[in-house]
């Protein structure tokens, strides 16, 4: 537990931690959605090739 506390104190109060943690949560959501979108886009590309 001590290490966890120390780690929390060591973390700088950057923009991500202002306003609670909503920026952090939003960036996590964005990464997940971007990742899934890239995968779907790659499937889309394959469909396009098949259509030709």
């Amino acid at each position: 537990m001590l290490t966890l506390l120390q780690a929390q104190q060591a973390a700088p109060q950057s923009i991500m931690l202002q306003n609670g943690k909503i920026f952090l949560v939003m960036s996590v959501v964005c990464i997940v959605l971007i990742g899934l979108f890239i995968y779907v886009a790659s499937i889309d590309k394959k469909i396009k090739q098949l259509e030709k």
Binding site: T3, L4, A7, Q8, A10, A11, P12, S14, M16, L17, K21, L24, S27, V28, I31, V32, G35, L36, Y39, V40, I43, K46, I47, L50
Partner: protein, 180 residues
């Protein structure tokens, strides 16, 4: 993401076993697509986990046993796709990768479920506490529970849907090449 990944990889395992029983390439296509989606979930989980760790623990990678275990598990699944890519003969590829897929699923046991429970970690639910290694079920508030479990179901269903798209493309491709 991790819950969804485990479910998708388990489905992949089921189709690999089905392939070995039936030798039908359709099952191989299913197993491959589910493994791919599971791997994508895992990669997204580790990236977002590192981002979160950067602000919570002060560094994107603190060498936490759970992070390391997850990374090893993902590398083992990457090897599945390396194996698939390196074989040309469809029959041989399907058979070997089905066997390897079963092996890599069982590697999830030590890397994700056993070793993290044996060591102390920055994650909640470390050594000495009961329950899941990633989250501490008893620590979760009722509010968080109502968000967390529907989110697990939602992400998993989204993953399954994308996987079915991939399967349909793959099947069309195989039909076009005259393999199926």
């Amino acid at each position: 993401m991790w819950f969804g990944m485990m479910i998708l990889l388990f489905v992949s395992l089921v189709y690999s076993i089905k392939y070995l029983r039936s030798s039908s390439l359709v099952h191989d296509v299913y197993a491959q697509a589910y493994a791919a989606m599971g791997l994508i979930f895992g990669v997204l989980g580790i990236i977002t986990g590192a981002l979160w760790a950067n602000f919570q623990w002060g560094s994107p990678w603190v060498g936490d046993p759970k992070q390391n275990g997850a990374a090893i598990a993902l590398l083992i699944y990457f090897a599945y796709f390396v194996l698939r890519g390196s074989l040309v003969d469809a029959e041989k590829k399907a058979r070997l990768s089905a066997v390897y897929n079963i092996f890599s699923f069982f590697m999830l046991f030590p890397t994700l479920w056993i070793l993290p429970r044996l060591t102390e970690s920055l994650h909640p639910g470390g050594q000495g506490s009961e329950g899941n290694p990633g989250i501490n079920g008893k620590d979760m508030s009722a509010n968080m529970r109502t968000v967390f479990y529907p989110a697990v179901i939602g992400w998993t269903l989204l993953g399954v849907w994308i996987t079915t798209l991939k399967i349909r493309v793959q099947m069309m491709q195989l039909k076009k090449e005259g393999i199926l």
